[in-house]
């Protein structure tokens, strides 16, 4: 039994090293005065936490964190400092005393409170013993989906996820309302300079964008078997679209996906999600109770070989329901992130001045 101590110690070692790295990077973010440096360091921060999440057995979360941290949040922050011209603050040490005292005392209290928490990895802790254990034991018979995170997210707590999707949609609409709906000024190509070709980037992007989109679809439809699902696929897909806009220009992307279409798709996603729930209600179940998604006479028509083995209870309603709402989530997340990017990238400082003069 050499594997046991090796694997457990390795996990603990990785845990501690990564957390120390997180501390170092967080300290650097607090210390730096340059906003750009803070943004770059923040992308490292979320990258380290993505690896840490894998070590902590949360590959689904790591997926999301890696894509959001590597792609979307960095780009959104960059767009914001472009529009605010990246001013740096003037630190005055006397103003730092009160926040430091507050944070130190709150932190001390929280650490004191943390002493009462069950130790890390305790299977009998309240968080793991009751409802978490029940999800683990009952997913196979209730839902019939190997990925229990997807089962909890999409089926057991489907109403909660509907709320989250609606929040994402509302945030996208909010950004669109505040920053405008599309390009305001001429986004003309930059004046040609000697050596200002980006052939390498254009070719590489042409090769990569379809691959990223394809991978997003894989993550989407693989979500109930392995790590993945609508949220992850949505952010990956939006990174593909944002990459297209970065390399080929916002105009070209907006010709392919006009802002109006992006907003409609975002609302369509929420509608699909809620629609699945309403179909369940029409067929006699509760809202989002996928067991009632198909009426029994239709369910009897579905041939058993589609899933490949007859041993499991079929759970057609659950499979179809999860697929349906995940598609809704995919559409909403993708379209919202694209709308947000359109808002930040389509606005320029000149537009704001012109608007203010009017």
């Amino acid at each position: 039994m050499i594997t046991l101590p090796a694997s457990i110690n390795a996990s603990l070692m990785l845990d501690i090293v990564l957390l120390v790295m997180l501390l170092v990077v967080a300290g650097a973010i607090v210390r730096t005065r340059s906003l750009l440096a803070a943004i770059i360091l923040f992308s490292i921060y979320s990258l380290i936490s993505a690896v840490w999440l894998v070590v902590m057995d949360a590959p689904d979360v790591a997926f999301t964190e890696a894509v959001v941290g590597a792609g979307i949040s960095t780009i959104v922050l960059l767009g914001a400092i472009l529009l605010t011209r990246g001013e740096t603050e003037k630190p005055d040490w006397r103003k730092l005393i009160a926040p430091a005292l507050i944070c130190a005392s709150v932190g001390g209290l929280l650490i004191y409170a943390a002493m009462g928490l069950p130790e890390l990895g305790d299977p009998a802790s309240p968080a793991n013993a009751h409802v978490g254990r029940a999800y683990l034991q009952r997913t196979a018979s209730d839902i019939g989906v190997p990925n229990m995170v997807t089962a909890v997210l999409a089926s057991y707590r489907g109403l909660d996820t509907l709320g989250e999707t609606a929040v994402i949609f509302a945030a996208g609409i909010g950004v669109a309302l505040m920053l405008g709906f599309g390009p305001r000024s001429s986004l003309a190509p930059p004046p040609a300079q000697l050596g200002d070709h980006h052939v390498t980037l254009r070719v590489a992007a042409k090769m990569l964008i379809p691959l990223i989109a394809l991978f997003a679809l894989y993550v989407q439809f693989h979500g109930d078997l392995g790590a993945g699902g609508g949220f992850q696929a949505g952010v990956i897909m939006s990174v593909a679209i944002i990459l297209h806009a970065l390399v080929f220009g916002l105009r070209e992307t907006m010709a392919a996906i006009p802002p109006r279409v992006a907003r409609s798709i975002a609302s369509l996603g929420v509608l699909i999600y809620a629609g699945v729930g309403i179909v369940c209600m029409i067929n006699g179940g509760a809202f989002l109770d996928y067991d009632y998604l198909f009426p029994p006479e239709i369910e009897a028509q579905i041939p058993g070989w589609i899933l490949g083995d007859d041993a499991h209870a079929p759970h057609w309603g659950q499979h179809a329901g999860i697929l349906g709402i995940e598609i809704g989530v995919l559409l909403t997340v993708t379209a919202t992130m694209v709308t947000v990017f359109y808002g930040f990238a389509g606005r320029t400082v000149d537009d704001a001045r012109r608007e203010a003069r009017r």
Partner: protein, 120 residues
């Protein structure tokens, strides 16, 4: 046989990791951005290739091998492109190298203020 392959694979992983560490050391020690890009991009691609080859040997032939090959392809595609974009950004915005001549491209002499220095 499988054990032998796994040991050889582990050896490859170690060599690749050693290359990565050497590259990281270069990034710490080299004098300016351009030389650091040089250190990073070469060791990253070579180290990644060796590590992924080693993992392929450990995995044997399966779906996992295919995924590893995909990772290798994507790393080989994106890392050099990112290095290119970074060098382009540094050179195009007038960041001067410590070593060698900067005024190779005349059009860059027009620029008075170098951008991208530490205070934006």
């Amino acid at each position: 046989m499988a054990d032998l392959l796994a040991s050889i694979g582990g050896g490859f992983v170690l060599i690749g990791v050693a290359l990565s560490v050497l590259g990281a050391f270069g990034i710490l020690k080299f004098p300016d951005v351009y030389t650091r890009i040089h250190a990073a991009s070469i060791t990253d691609t070579a180290g990644a290739s060796l590590v992924l080859l080693g993992l392929c040997l450990i995995a044997g032939i399966s779906l996992v091998t295919l995924k590893l090959v995909f990772i290798w392809m994507f790393v080989m595609l994106t890392t050099p492109v990112a290095a290119n974009a970074l060098a382009n950004a540094a050179f195009g915005s007038g960041h001067k190298p410590r070593i060698g001549a900067f005024h190779i491209m005349r059009s860059d002499e027009r620029r008075q203020t170098p951008r991208g220095t530490d205070a934006p």
